[in-house]
């Protein structure tokens, strides 16, 4: 600006500062298609297997409750048999 001041030239306008961004040829992609595809495929099976695990857990919980119920029934049946004998 000092030179401009000396010569009396006008300051640069916004048009003078117009900039063009150009991509580097052969540069890396922002998102790799291979990575996205593998991620999508992995997500598919992780979600399905998570649901299978959820169902498995439900079944496990039922097993425990069924075991408790069987124990109670066995105890009641044993008491009934003992009462008959006496």
């Amino acid at each position: 600006m000092k030179d401009g001041d000396k010569t009396g030239a006008a300051p640069p306008t916004t048009d003078d500062r117009a900039t063009t961004f150009q991509a580097v040829q052969g540069g890396q992609e922002h998102y790799s298609g291979e990575t996205l595809l593998v991620s999508a495929y992995a997500v598919l099976w992780v979600v399905v297997l998570a649901w299978v695990a959820f169902i498995w857990r439900k079944q496990g919980d039922m097993n425990t409750r069924l075991f408790d119920l069987e124990r109670v029934l066995d105890k009641a049946a044993a008491e009934k048999t003992a009462a008959r004998k006496t």
């Binding site: 298609g33 996205l36 999508a40 169902i55 029934l73 049946a77």
Partner: protein, 259 residues
């Protein structure tokens, strides 16, 4: 609970026991063949998607997400339809089976909806340059999954009484109202979401691309049926167990209090 005495000393009934076998549903014997067929179809689907279907000229390899994104969306519709059918059946005539089907269908809609809502944005990152946009189809699909999440949360925390089941069934019926909105949102409201399978233009331009998609539809349909079936069976068994526990308490056999 009349079986208590007969069970005592005889040993527990197993699936090989003729009495126990008589309690299994006749359709259950088709489960394993269907599971095997599903596995074979998935192997074929993987072969066609990754090894045979050509890479798309503009999008590149990421277009292959399409072959399981679209069938997942279809499977989500199947789950939601099962939930709708079970809910309507429960409201008309309340049974454990219809309630179990509705619950299994809702969970399938969540699972396959989650796959759709994850694989779609992964494709969008490449195709649109962004993972998410509030496009009508994306928004309505998200809304639909949230409705079924609400259903699952309601079932998990609101108890398992008749009133809760009826309320859930009403939600299951209302949730299905969003399905046609998802489907027609692209036509009515525009947006960015592409339409490949239409009657006017578009489409897959290579026979192997078409075969990969058709196999995907078959594989995901069978997977959805298998999972809904398995989940329904577990839920039905749980209902029977709850009744047996209640009976044990009523007969004074069990000292625990009712939940």
């Amino acid at each position: 609970m009349s079986g208590a005495a007969s069970l005592n000393g005889v040993g527990r009934r197993t699936s090989l026991d003729p009495v126990a076998r008589a309690h299994t549903h006749p359709a259950d014997r088709f489960f394993y063949p269907l599971a095997a067929l599903t596995a074979v179809t998935f192997v074929a689907e993987i072969f066609f998607v990754f090894l045979r279907a050509p890479v798309e000229v503009r999008m590149g390899i990421v277009q292959k997400i399409f072959y399981f994104h679209v069938p997942s969306a279809y499977a989500m519709y199947l789950g939601a339809t099962a939930c709708f059918a079970g809910s309507v059946a429960y409201l008309v005539r309340p049974t454990d089976a219809s309630d179990a089907l509705a619950r299994a269908g809702a969970e399938a809609a969540i699972v396959f909806g989650a796959i759709v809502l994850t694989t779609g944005p992964l494709w969008g990152a490449k195709a649109w340059g962004t993972f998410w946009t509030w496009d009508p189809r994306l928004t309505t699909a998200l809304l639909s999954v949230l409705i079924y999440v609400a259903y699952a949360v309601l079932r998990a925390f609101a108890g398992d009484g008749s009133a809760e089941r009826k309320f859930s069934a009403a939600l299951g019926v209302l949730g299905a109202a969003n399905l046609p909105i998802i489907h027609f949102s692209v036509q009515k409201w525009g947006g960015q979401h592409p339409m490949v399978i239409t009657g006017k233009g578009g489409g897959l331009q290579h026979p192997d691309m078409k075969l990969a998609l058709v196999l995907g539809f078959f594989a995901f349909t069978m997977l959805a049926v298998l999972l809904v079936w398995a989940r329904t069976r577990v839920e039905l068994a749980r209902s029977r167990l709850l009744r047996a526990e209640d009976d044990a308490i009523d007969l004074g056999l069990d000292t625990r209090t009712e939940a």
